[in-house]
Amino acid sequence: MRNLNRRNFLKTAAIGISAGALGTSSIKASDKSLSEDRIGILVDTDVCVGCRHCEWACRTAHEFPACDLEEYSDISVFEKYRRPDNTSLTVINQFENEKNPLLPIYVKVQCMHCEKPACVSACIVGALTKLEDGSVVWDDSKCIGCRYCMVACQFQIPTYDYDKAIDPHIWKCDLCRDRRIRDKLPACVEICPNEALVFGKRSEVLSIARKRIKRKPDVYVEHIYGENEIGGTSWMYIAGKSFDKLKMPPLGKETAPGISEAIQHGIFSYFVPPVALFALLGTLMWVNKHKRGESDTEIESTDPDKEESEF
């Protein structure tokens, strides 16, 4: 801290600004420069059998305590609806299948990795970033625990270590970033026995989804959840039942950060409005000061008492 003198501070600030201007691999939520080959994952709920192996794999991959894989075949957990929390970043929920009661519908829940993520937009310290490959990741070292991301997310995904007094973390699916660096698939995709999770390029995965719906129109409803929802998401779903009955929030095509960012970023874009504002204020002050200065001199000349008081 002692080294951070005025000169050093200005240096770092200058570097920071120039880096921000040039742009790194991370991009802000409203930016459109995502990679053409960015990741897409299709959840085919018609193929999922609800074995919950993905839950086990996710926990193991993120070094959370996980019980034996065999214990995950317990179907009693489906009795109540579950959400991802700080101990499991993905969960499977069961829904009734009217077409065949013996084969219920299973829906996996995890971070959707939005194309235009609200959490990234809401994060005030830039701890959350949307990477070029489509994944939304976060940096623990930057996070200050404000939990704005939790409020911003329309899928209510980010979770928080409420039980930890010291060093609590924000948690959500990171698409197994560590595994992908080692050229491995996300843990849930790799373990799925039925390949209900199709991992590939978003464009390809979308066309696979369309083909599956076209090939089995009696099985699927004609809707790819996540294709357009809040500007599109990396995870997409196809199902044999309307998605609002599968507790997927009905969302429009408008992106969440679209309006808020337009205002916020407009105000601060290229630092022009603040500079202009301060310039305006400065000018006003300068003008005012000059006016006062003129009147002061007038007073000076007419008030002899003041001269006396100075002495």
Binding site: E70, S73, I75, L102, L103, P193, N194, E195
Partner: protein, 401 residues
Amino acid sequence: MRKILYILVPLVLTFFLVITAALPQSGSEIQEVRARNTPEKSQINKVHDDPAVLNNSNLKCKTCHTSEYPTPKDPGLTDCPRENLVSVYQSPKEGPESVAIVEMSDKYTGVIFPHRVHAEMSEMSTGCAGCHHYNTSGPILNCRNCHEKSRNREDVSVPDLKAAFHRQCMSCHKQWSGENGCNSICHKRKDITKDNITSTNISKTHPELPEPGKITWETNSNINKTVTFFHDEHIKLFKIKCTSCHTSESCIRCHTPKVQSDLNKPVKIEKSIEEHHKPCINCHYGNKCTKCHSDKEMSPFDHGKTSGWVLSTYHKDLLCSGCHGNQMPYRKLGTKCVSCHRDFAAEFDHKLKGFTFSEAHSELECANCHVGKDFTKNPVCSDCHDDKSFPGDIPGEKPGK
């Protein structure tokens, strides 16, 4: 002189052009290509003329060929046509008894899949095509031929091998057991067992299904209460395949899931009126209600009683539709041979009756012996011979003599 040149030069040129075009030179290359491909031609025809291909109205050229103008040399075939094409049918006994699946994770042992019992069970549902989908008219392919081993791969539109196996097994087994785990029937954990392979149900076959004879139903109707269905007649006499009615039977059709003690107790399934009629209506579309619904139990079918014409020797084994057409109610036919066999006399081979004509008899007209061309009665010899009569005497020789 110049005028003649003006006419002659173009004439000669055209003649030359015609000659070059007509010469076999340019054609020889095509012929060569064809000759090179003749061994494959039978293969092409085998696929194109296959009934499974001919009768599948969903098939278009583009289903299998990607290129605009496929040639024998460059057919531009798609990897997987994704249309049900299986035409190679094997009975369960012809197929393998069991199949070893050894491409397994570190956690679980390999699996022995009892192929025969599954083939038997599939006979009244999807048949071979249920698992061996998109098989062309060639040999029956197994899962490994099309499904890649690696999950981390380029083309993710087709499921990988692990998924292909599991998708085939799990939808039925889950309905059957209601379980979500993987160790009950197929898998064992490597750290629990010493075996390298899990061999549950190996060489198990489905017990033979009891074939019902006559089934009667009492309906709620006031008139014509009783419906009699002769199951055995439909199989033996009318030669209808099991699969033409039993199209989508599954385990749970007969066995209640979960309750193992009730395995031998058939489950009564409530059906709507439409569903009840569906298997019959498929063929009996044009028949009146009274064809099946009557005030008392019906007696078995007898061609002699119904039509006054007893089916004998050659006619016994014929299919009903062979004479009566495919439309229900069946077309009524006359009792004379010529009412079906229009040019019966010209065609009939008397060897079928056990003799060949002697030279003297071979020149005769049919009506000379068969009075009034009525072939149902015995022929008459007394017009020419005083002391001969059929079948004691024959107008020729028995073959082999």
